[in-house]
């Protein structure tokens, strides 16, 4: 039997089983429907980077790194700096990941985390202007090292922690002095993601990988304290307006729990 066929069959079996459990209000790991797995954040793990953090939710590990460089601004925004987010699903992070250039899931992951941070305006690229033709670029890299489910929230957690850890290098005569810092990013918010999956007619938060196999859709809400910053629905199914509003309320409450680890 090919791997793909096996995955498809497993998915159906898990879905049936999870639906039966959910009808009794239970999950594979006996969590509540809206409960985080154990969370851990380690900041400043990479001395060579200007900011770094390892974020973990229930065994899923994302390493986030911040690097600054002097660069040429985009021609349509000559007075603004640049903020770019990249992601790599490292092949050892999951038996399903393959080596090669980022595929659609890795690109979606980077873009959803990026949007949550960008919309919250915690990175003010207007402050990144150095002189004509020279601006500061902030590179945020998200390296997925271990995937036991819910990359979206773990990625945003690691990213936020790395940005909080970041020291902007001092700039002299248009050049970076990496050994010296002109301070942190002074973020006014802590943007984070809260993701749900829908299995049958039930929604559950922070899905493990086993639960993700059984999902009909995933719904990711990016938020800061009391504001929605980004939304991403993915998967081959739909949800109602009431569903959306209900999930937003839960996301506000649950992302606050995550913020305590930052």
């Amino acid at each position: 039997m090919g791997e793909e066929t096996k995955t498809k069959i497993l998915r159906e079996v898990r879905k049936d089983f999870l639906q039966e459990l959910l009808a009794k209000g239970k999950r594979f790991d006996e969590r509540e429907l809206n409960e985080w797995r154990p969370v851990n954040v380690d900041k400043g793990v990479l001395p060579n980077a200007e900011g770094s953090a390892l974020g973990e939710i229930g065994g899923t590990k994302v390493l986030a790194a911040v690097k600054f460089d002097v660069m040429t601004p985009f021609s349509d925004r000559p007075e603004e700096g640049v903020f770019m987010t990249g992601a790599e699903f490292v092949p050892f992070a999951s038996p399903e990941f393959e080596a090669g250039p980022p595929r659609e899931n890795a690109i979606e992951f980077a873009r959803v985390v990026d949007r949550g941070i960008r919309s919250s305006e915690v990175i003010n690229v207007k402050n990144f202007f150095i002189e004509e033709g020279k601006v500061l670029g902030l590179f945020l890299d998200l390296w997925v090292l271990d995937n036991t489910g819910n990359l979206m929230d773990t990625g945003a957690l690691a990213a936020c922690a790395a940005l909080l850890d970041a020291k902007v290098p001092k700039i002299e005569d248009g050049k970076l002095i990496r050994e010296e810092s002109s301070g942190g990013l002074n973020m006014k918010y802590k943007p984070l993601n809260t993701s749900f999956i829908k299995v049958g007619n039930k929604f559950l938060m922070d899905p493990s990988k086993d639960e993700e196999y059984a999902r009909d859709l995933r719904f990711t809400i990016g938020s800061v304290e009391g504001l929605i910053t980004s939304i991403q629905k993915s998967g081959d199914s739909g949800l109602s307006k009431d569903d959306v509003m209900n999930l937003v309320d839960i996301a506000f409450e649950k992302s606050d729990e995550l913020r305590k680890y930052l």
Partner: protein, 244 residues
Amino acid sequence: MEKPELIKDGKRLDGRGPKDLRSVRIEAGVLKEAQGSALVEWGGNKVIAGVYGPRECIPKHGADPYKAKLKVRYMMTPFCSKGEHSRSGPNRRSIEISKVMREAFEPVVMTKNFPRSQIEVYVEVIQAEGGTRVASLTAAAVALADAGIPMTDMVSAIAVGKLDGQLVVDLGKDEDNYGESDVPMAITHRDKQIVLLQMDGLLTREELAQSLDDGIEGADKVYELQAEALKKSYEKEERGKLNL
């Protein structure tokens, strides 16, 4: 920058003697999903290796009817150096290193036991400070053993270099930049086979012989740490704890 004095009163830039290694920390079983994994912190280097296999060869037409296909990928992350952010993805250097690393493991991994399958080894350099290939090889060897892949012998890696005319073991970044020669090597523990050997710079015949002797001696120290890390991994209550 001007070349610093690399050896002064028999001590190197960081205070080490000629045969001293930087501090090396090895941990096995640091990831949950990977079948085998290892973290190696070697001076300022931090590398993580993960292994899968033997499993179905992809693409199928690439399968070898007589043995498992060994795939090794060494990769530097774009954020690993003190300097600029670099482009992600493979380059000529990383492709060459991946090749010589694979060829270092071919002699010891018992690939003939698993025809038509593949064994994958991935190494990510998340922090670089000179000597990433030997740190990566050392991590990969531990990850292979941690994954339970049968091997005839353990592989340990080390580099020997020449600074101000003197041979020293385990070059740091500044030493590598200003040194006169760099000889990275990988050695099997029991047979003392040289399974990886590269060299650049200028050495006499005698200096090369001495480098190999010093390297084999240094590799033994690395082996002890690898073996200890594997033993410790069995005492761990929970796999998948990553202490960067």
